[in-house]
Symmetry: D2
């Protein structure tokens, strides 16, 4: 439903880049989740622009939990987070409001909202709206952590510079390292090269995209639904809400499309009294339902559309060809900042899936006894 | 909601492979859509196994519309389609019911449904359930066709054999050609090679995957919602309901993640009094909302997991390592059959998006006057 | 969503009175509920017309469960029930199709479906559609019974003839008696008078309405949500789906509106180590959430609109005043038949509420430990 | 979904009585509705306590629209309203937190939220949460007014003192009068008596309930859905979200249950080229769908549970019998204040129904042409 996501757990997003505030309401949370403010702030921190590889616009993004928390624990009633907009430079948006910035939503939004949209700084379409998503994701992670479910992502690629692959022999250590980093890579040397590339992009008034690889461990088997609430359906629905993501892959989905079945199939085995698969091309999901192996996801991120070069465009009111020079403070790359937004959307989707599962789990466990 | 998909238009799927019947209920349809049975049957026909490149199991898949149609037109009340299961060979499923077929849902379904699932022929997880999806998609296409919206797909790749790219100069002709084909390719020579590869897979008791590329033309601009009902979110949600699809890309999403912004951005121009973009890397969608350009989608399909070779697996009841030899009649490749399922899911998703849009469109148009 | 009801458990209704079939899909059921066919048939039996107090049209209403049940237990995948239409007399509906039967949906449906609705026998608006609701309710009751939750209703009033009030000292015995009756009353003498009144109505070509009082025992406290999923919201939403119901009261809602707070408040006390209230004016619900006391509901049912007298009406196509004489076999009273439909809707609503509750219950119980 | 209501238009409610703020998010609004602040404030004003017939607690209830409005018009993106909590007297809630106030949600909420609920002043269950509902209703009314749809309510009864019935000959004048009143009655003398009774209740440390009658004119025919989105289902779902309402009647629903069909049926006639009914016992709704006649609703309101007398109760933590004396500033009657909350819920429900209808209306109208 438009700006609401989820079934048993829902988040509702609101706000515009240059309005009074942005925020999110989370409904369906359990009662009694302890709010870990330090963790919440550390998540918000990963989304903030830092150094010369990001925009110079600084936002404090201070979190106000205005409902749903009492004495430090979730009550179970809707938890609403408000983030006030502060650092909104009053530049002349009026003069360029009918010019469609290439690869931005200005034109499509004008058709959708018939000219009534708030066009300042992208309005409701601004990347700023990912801040409340991170806040909501952090709350969900507090829940997931009590069940030993872990989520971590690394920057698999920026432009054509690749990070190492995960080593599942020491996945816990690797995930911990990533979750302590602002620029999350497994191979620090690759990380340096990526940041150099981003700097180069900034200097040439250009931008660059990349790939985020996410892994989830400790997630129980038997969660998900066969068709429209498959784990892939729910997670991709959430991920494609993030404007910059234009492709999503589960497991080795793209590579599998070139493989023969005899190679692509993940053989089942018993290991330490538990069912595992010897390979994990399916990324922990069979038939839309988790099988207990790590869930793996690749999100493909397009280069930031805001670049400082002069670009061809149209005035969609006068219907004339024009050029546009986007002023202001922009990110030459958002891959490293979008990482925590992806972690958050995955956390939200998985919490919802777990809760949906519990509707019938409770019933059945009683049947058994 | 589990087996229901959609907001303003919903489809609800039901049935098991070896149960009495499978089917679908479509709710929220307009009144007065003429039911074109010939078109409906031609769609069903594209999903059927044909020749030696498909399974030998033949199903008549006869459509029974039991409600929601009167005098040849949709009434607007729920339209339910029933397809009886006929050709169910009573082989001994009992003996292998606790063996997890690799890359199938047997194990994850057992954990989800606690041993109560219908395990015969994949049960609710069977590819047979895509038949009612095609029927529902055909009904939605009847609606879309009245507004000159067209959908077509080709087999972009099987294994490593590629079809030509679309030529948007003559896209109408190409789409028409594809929609008249059972094995849908733009380059017939490539098509021959693909079919040879599939035959080879069958002979070596193996299987192969591939890629379907879908294009939608004539879809109006300004449809979709900024976050959780973005066009990408809704379409991917539907596509990932199809078990074999493990990656979905909009526009040139994967390639864009390697591009610089100056190359990836689609410049706007006025052409014939209409806003267009000179390139279409974003696949017709900006900020989750259509911009009037063709919508383009790639679906990555894993090789059929059912292969006739002996494979390692486990008995998930006794918790022992075992081997399995999957008997029966299987598809060495389902890419060509899944093509029409993808067209159908896209049609369903787009009809829903159009209807969601109309909730506010009507209101606003009156404001203007 | 139109013909779908529920959150965690959903039912989707379809069919027309003179179409091929009517039916329902139930999704979100637990796996492993034993299907008690005898009980299911006994429920269907209570809805059937019997004797001279009901319509002469007899329907076999044979239940076909076409999916979601395997080896006698629910699988947990969608359970679809089909009931074929058999006894459809092919009278000339064509000639009266543009005449609006008073208090029926003919006119409003024509405006809603723009002339495309199936007008034969009320089409989708026919009381026949309550048959699948009863079937779905019976399935939900199988679940509720495993947790000792009981539902029973009596005919509190027909016209102005009243049945006795419940005696909560011996409520179990009374509920059992009611559930074994076709014409459910506590006072058999009152029941006789009611049936005499119905006969009298039939003879005078008239009809009569009444009130059904429902009681639910054994339902746990702490179920429901404060605002839009309050127990009253969910149950009334379901009950008002039944066309003949025009008012719904929880507890002593109507009487309470005349009382002073000092009399209307239900005092809490401890009894046998359990919290109870000394009166139950609130009908077991405080702030939208159950408090463990019996849930009590009154449904007010209008007289059957189909009467054999000549009535004033309009032809809504020619827009002329006309008269109409409704031919056919009609119920002079449906209160006794609607009783089991109400029990069923209440069962469906309460099963959904229980499942919604369990999404967070599971989580929390783990927190406690 | 818990604290979210609606299909095509949704409202999401959040906040606790003594938390930082309460509020609501409205999603699915049309773009371009002019925000009439004066009207919004006049609606908020009707809900405020005034004079000696209400609580002495005064709240400014200042509306902050933090998103979804730009240059005085709705954008079409989520509109969030925040109302800060100000006048929260820090009395010792701690000492009585485990005592269940009779007919309040304290006990049921404790079972629902497992002790984590914010118990101060009723928390999320406080009547304060109706303030954002009124704000949302006011926004919806701005939309409805552009289509000449009008809503008004009067206090039909307080205790046993009755107001006059509507006179539909001069309904426009009567509705206008009501909408200009704080204590909305048709007969001012009856209004005086009602207020005297309320004063009497206050003096005797008691409270009193009543009935609100609502009428909607100008609402188009053909809106609503046959079963689960019937007009009665949607409106009652909304109304029963208001804690004090324990019964809801459409048309003359209660009286109809005592009538014969020949009297209860509303005969159709043509008047001024339009289809009308000569009586309106069905309250403008046939088969769940509007027929163009005025929609009429009665809401039955229980007496305020907070009375200053000593009452029997339990301590639900120690499980002992206790007495409670509720301190503070309470309403001896909330019927007059709840009037505008009912108008608002009806406005929200009807706007949603209109928008749902438009999903198919648009389609069909194009078919016709």
């Amino acid at each position: 439903m438009r700006n609401t996501f989820g079934n048993s757990l829902t988040i509702t997003l609101f706000g515009e880049s240059h309005g009074e505030a942005i925020g999110v309401t989370i409904d369906g949370l359990s009662s009694g989740i302890r709010i870990d403010e330090e963790f919440l702030n550390s998540m918000m921190d990963k989304r903030k622009p830092k150094g010369t590889i990001s925009t110079m616009r600084k936002e404090s993004d201070e979190i106000h939990i205005v409902s749903g928390v009492f004495n430090g624990y979730t009550t179970g009633t809707p938890l609403t987070i408000i983030i006030n907009n502060e650092n909104t430079i009053s530049k002349d948006y009026e003069s360029t409001k009918d010019l469609a910035r290439p690869s931005h939503a200005d034109y499509s939004a004008d058709k959708r909202y018939l000219g009534y949209q708030d066009y300042r700084g992208g309005g409701h379409f601004s990347g700023r709206l990912t801040a409340p998503i991170v806040a909501a994701g952090a709350i969900c992670m507090m829940e997931l952590k009590t069940r030993s479910i872990k989520i971590a992502s690394h920057i698999k690629r920026i432009g054509n510079i690749e990070d190492d692959d995960f080593n599942f022999e020491k996945i816990d250590t690797e995930m911990e390292k990533l979750n302590s980093q602002y620029f999350a890579v497994l191979n620090d040397e690759a990380g340096e090269k990526m940041q150099d590339l981003i700097e180069k992009m900034r200097n040439s008034l250009d931008s660059v995209g990349g790939v985020i690889e996410t892994v989830v461990t400790g997630f129980p088997e038997g969660v998900g639904e066969p068709y429209f609430d498959s784990v892939e359906s729910i997670i991709s629905h959430g991920l494609f809400s993030i404007g910059a993501i234009k492709a999503v892959e589960f497991g080795d989905g793209i590579m599998m499309s070139e493989m023969m079945g005899s190679k692509a199939n993940d053989a089942f085995r018993i290991k330490d009294g538990k069912v595992i698969t010897t390979t994990n091309h399916n990324g922990g999901i069979n038939g839309g339902i988790t099988n207990g192996m790590p869930i793996t996801i690749h999100s493909f991120i397009k280069p930031t559309p805001s670049i400082a070069r002069i670009q061809d465009t149209v005035n969609f009111k006068t219907m004339n060809n024009e050029t546009i020079e986007i002023k202001g403070r922009h990110d030459p790359c958002i891959v490293h900042r979008i990482r925590v937004v992806i972690d958050s959307m995955v956390a939200i989707a998985l919490t919802d899936l777990l809760m949906m599962r519990s509707t019938t789990l409770t019933f059945n466990e009683e049947h058994k006894s």
